[in-house]
């Protein structure tokens, strides 16, 4: 394990240091006093684990390919941007556009997330990106989603009528979103259909909720007691005839 004091360290220097350590075969790095440094874990290949203490900057885990980043606090915008494989865990809230164009790997957020989470995530073959959110999401969850799996638990929903904002799944044409609780049809994009999860869906949800509970230490049975809904696209080409008819 290597400690890096990131206090006032420019993001380039910090990321170069992490990449150099990875090249030397170091498998575990702990960053202290992080405040706003962007691209942490960016493009990292291999199995390195990075613990982040403080507030990491935008695009944490961008293009990441195999590493694991654990943020012990809140994250900012763009976590897991175009990530290929690996895992990001955030023990707090996260900002907007989490998992933007994500192609593989996992992102676990303990608390709430902002706008456009899961925008245009995609999947191919074995590459199925996954985002699990413990709290609530703002508008445009799963916007233009083309593949992958998202699970929203709404554990911080409290008195709010539903765990998401508006325009859920707008433009969605692939993948699936599982939401614990319910969403009024009014808040769904016209491209998604709401249904009850089947046994196969429940198996996927159970696996991911199980991983969430292990990661953040919470009661699996308690979470699973409330039913989930499934959101899937009506069509794989919702705009196929947009300019032709």
């Amino acid at each position: 394990m290597v400690h890096i004091d990131a206090k006032e360290m420019p993001y380039r220097a910090l990321n170069e240091k992490i990449r150099a350590l990875a090249a030397e075969g170091e498998y575990s790095v702990e960053l202290d006093n992080v405040c706003g440094q962007k691209y942490i874990g960016g493009g990292l290949k291999g199995k390195m684990k990075i613990d982040v203490r403080g507030i990491p900057g935008n695009d944490l885990g961008i293009f990441m390919d195999g590493a694991e980043v654990v943020v012990h606090g809140n994250g900012q915008d763009g976590i897991g941007n175009t990530m290929n494989s690996g895992k990001v865990v955030v023990h707090g809230n996260a900002g907007d556009v989490i998992g933007y164009a994500m192609r593989g790997g996992k992102v676990f957020i303990k608390g709430d997330v902002g706008y456009r989470v899961g925008i245009h995530m995609k999947a191919y073959g074995d590459m199925v990106p996954t985002i699990v959110i413990g709290g609530t999401a703002s508008d445009f969850l799963g916007e233009y989603m083309a593949g992958g799996v998202m699970v929203l638990l709404g554990l911080t929903q409290n008195s709010h009528p539903q765990p998401t904002g508006d325009y859920v799944g707008t433009g969605m044409h692939g993948g699936v979103i599982y939401v614990r609780g319910d969403i009024d049809d009014y808040y769904l994009g016209r491209e998604v259909i709401k249904s009850e999860p089947d046994a196969k869906d429940i198996a996927i949800i159970s696996r991911l909720v199980g991983e969430y509970c292990v990661t953040f230490g919470c009661d699996f049975d308690e979470i699973m007691r409330k039913p989930f809904i499934k959101l899937a696209p009506r069509s794989h080409r919702p705009y196929g005839n947009l300019y032709t008819s």
Binding site: D96, G165, D166
Partner: protein, 364 residues
């Protein structure tokens, strides 16, 4: 920019940064914190604009309009001074202190004038209206001179450079303000020039803005009907003038004004309970041309306090936090944590929902 083999060509990952600090009790602090906050987000700007607005900095001249003026040269200065002397009573004028900073080039001459308006000039016109007219006239018609801020007991300090360098240039660690806002600029489709840096200010309104106002044309034509002149080559000017029009002139409460600028969608208005629905319908019908479209997060300052606002679908970032009597806003959470590691509350304001912080009592 041209790419050649001599200079490594790199993507410039920028996007503007804004930050604001308000002490609601009017307690004044020096510029150290706001500089630290905006400097943390250095990489969001590209060196083509940085600036600060500071409130409460001129208590000795609190009843005078403080004109911060940029000049191309001494000749322009002499001509403008003659012009000002005919229209205002100048209580004091001085060079704004600056210090040489290597990265700051081509600075204009910058002076400040503490002025008041003689009653004989007003002809029953509100004093603020007279000042607006004069500032607009000078900024539109007076080649080589530009009034960058014109409020009482406040000032805008801005230029072409990174914000932390601009702060050094203007020695902002030596001013004390109860409200600071700051901007690091990445000009999208407008030129990077000294006057076009943020804050964009008029009277005591100041605006720092991340994003772009794609409704600029509609807003501009609307404002022109009320005599505003929009010639600063930046979309951000409409925000300052819309606040002046809606809040100062039309006396709308700030919450109502923000509902005109970033209104709920019609489909959501249709679902409101009747009294709310009628109110929102009225705002949208009367102030349809004040609606600001396009991505924005803004912090608006005035002597009364600070207003943060996002566009209706949150296409730009904004975080807010409180600690005791202080309200913070910033493009990034890190921009707050660097100066307030343990806020009482920290949150991401929702789209179109203003964060309003007002000073609670008269400022010393």
């Amino acid at each position: 920019m041209r790419c050649d083999t001599k200079v490594r060509c790199e993507r410039n990952p920028s996007g503007c940064a804004i930050s604001g600090i308000l002490n609601k009790k009017g307690k004044r602090i020096d510029g150290t914190k706001i500089i630290k906050s905006i400097a943390l987000m250095h990489d969001r700007s590209n060196g083509l604009g940085g600036g600060f607005a500071a409130y409460g900095i001129y208590p000795k001249y609190r009843d005078y309009y403080a004109f911060h003026v940029m000049f191309d040269d001494e000749d322009c200065q002499a001509r403008l001074e003659e012009h000002l002397a005919q229209r205002f009573v100048i209580e004091k004028d001085e060079k704004i202190p600056t210090v040489k900073v290597d990265s700051i080039h081509n600075a204009p001459l910058i002076r400040r004038y503490f002025v008041r308006v003689d009653d004989s000039k007003l002809e029953n016109k509100p004093e603020d209206d007279y000042v607006v007219e004069q500032v607009m006239d000078i900024n539109s018609n007076f080649a080589g001179a530009f009034i960058s801020s014109s409020g009482k007991n406040m000032g805008g300090f801005k230029g072409v450079g990174y914000p932390e360098d601009i702060a050094k240039y203007f020695k902002l660690d030596q001013y004390k303000a109860y409200l600071w806002t700051a901007h690091g600029r990445f000009p999208t489709n407008t030129p990077g020039w000294w006057g076009g840096a943020h804050p964009i200010a008029l009277l005591d309104w100041s605006v720092v803005h991340n994003g772009e106002i794609s409704s600029y044309g509609i807003n501009k034509r609307y404002l022109e009907m009320f005599g505003y002149k929009l010639e600063l080559l930046t979309d951000t000017e409409v925000i300052a003038y819309l606040f002046d029009l809606l809040v100062r002139k039309h006396k709308l409460p700030i919450t109502v004004a923000t509902k005109a600028l970033a209104p709920p969608f019609w489909k959501d208005i249709d679902r409101m309970e009747p009294s709310q629905r009628r109110a929102h319908e009225a705002i949208r019908m009367v102030y349809g041309s004040a609606l600001m479209n396009g991505p924005f997060s803004i912090i608006v300052g005035c002597n009364r306090g600070m207003i943060g606002l996002n566009d209706r679908i949150k296409l730009r970032p904004m975080m807010a936090a409180t600690k005791d009597d202080t309200l913070y806003m910033s493009s990034e959470e890190a921009g707050i944590r660097i100066i307030e590691p343990e806020p009482d509350q920290i949150w991401a304001p929702k789209a179109g929902t203003p964060v309003i912080g007002l000073v609670e009592e008269d400022v010393e």
